[in-house]
Symmetry: C3
Subunit: 139 residues, 3 copies
């Protein structure tokens, strides 16, 4: 069981990180990852390793965000501390897109698993982010 | 006023419990209740008492979840500790349904009141869950 | 970095305040502000200063809430403590409207900045609330 102070630190880390992502501050968002950090979109079998690859991928995706404001909503964080001090965090994500007229639509929901590590500066960084789109079980 | 550590313990309890519910692990979800635990859906005047009744009711409801992934989103937890050590927790719930194409729809919003108790194993269990569908005031 | 206990106190303050707002308890909601408190809706250039002005404005807006239940969902709180003990809190807001049939629609998303102060009674009060509608960047 982690302490409440650590839990709140993780929440605050995400609050800052999502503001950077949602305001399309691409370089600043990438800087919240470790230099060798990676983002895996499991549902489309896509992996970006290293900040430069991330940044290139996000610039390529920018047209998808033209004319909308995206907001990432998190819930149900599970934070576990590993023996090496790293944190494994699993959470639900809902993604809203608000257009200029104020109409809101939602992307499919996701479940995300991050590994967070503490840098030499004492701050948290994302070492890996594994994103799974929520998909109905085969029936 | 409860401590932050207890608040985070309650949040983590729900994070685990909702993962079980949302992945339709019915028996494991029922096991997060006390043996005599109950769930009341006030808006449809329905009460399930005891884990076996809950489990039967959830199996009967499974067809409603065919082809969709359900996610329960919580907000605005109010956690109060009773003299007997039980916790009364009231929270908002938003329920999303994502289909195979990624389309998201929402069920009506709900407000839930739980009583949580601590078992002999030191873990939290839900003794009762009272679910009210948010309904406009008569006008 | 604030303590987890303070973070949870802020969350609990909002949990209570939003229940008052969402159940249209207008006078009680206004009483969670300081006597000279203000609410600014930046996107429609509207400012209400003082509890009485707030109350009048909310009564005037009541017809907009006829036949629906509104719920304000918060996420990604950033809580910062000023030298004078006041708190600046920034957060995401999603607003749902559920009608009598259970249909859910959403208002445009918002980002809110509050200044909270502690009253002589030791409780938190909102001194100012600055509400910005999330609007796509010009392109």
């Amino acid at each position: 069981m982690i302490t409440a102070d650590l839990y709140v630190e993780v929440q605050t880390y995400y609050a800052n990180q999502m503001r950077l992502l949602d305001s399309l501050k691409i370089e600043e968002y990438a800087a919240t990852f470790t230099a060798d950090g990676e983002i895996v979109h499991a549902h489309r079998d896509e992996r970006a390793q290293g900040r430069e690859t991330m940044i290139a991928g996000m610039y390529a995706a920018l047209p998808r965000y033209k004319g909308v404001v995206v907001r990432h909503w998190f819930d149900h964080l599970l934070v576990e501390q590993g023996g090496d001090g790293s944190l494994t965090v699993n959470y639900y994500t809902l993604v809203s897109r608000t257009d200029a007229e104020g109409k809101v639509v939602f992307e499919p929901t996701f479940t995300v698993t991050d590994i967070l590590v503490r840098g030499d500066d004492g701050q948290l960084y994302t070492k890996s982010r594994y994103i799974e789109r929520d998909t109905p079980a085969e029936s």
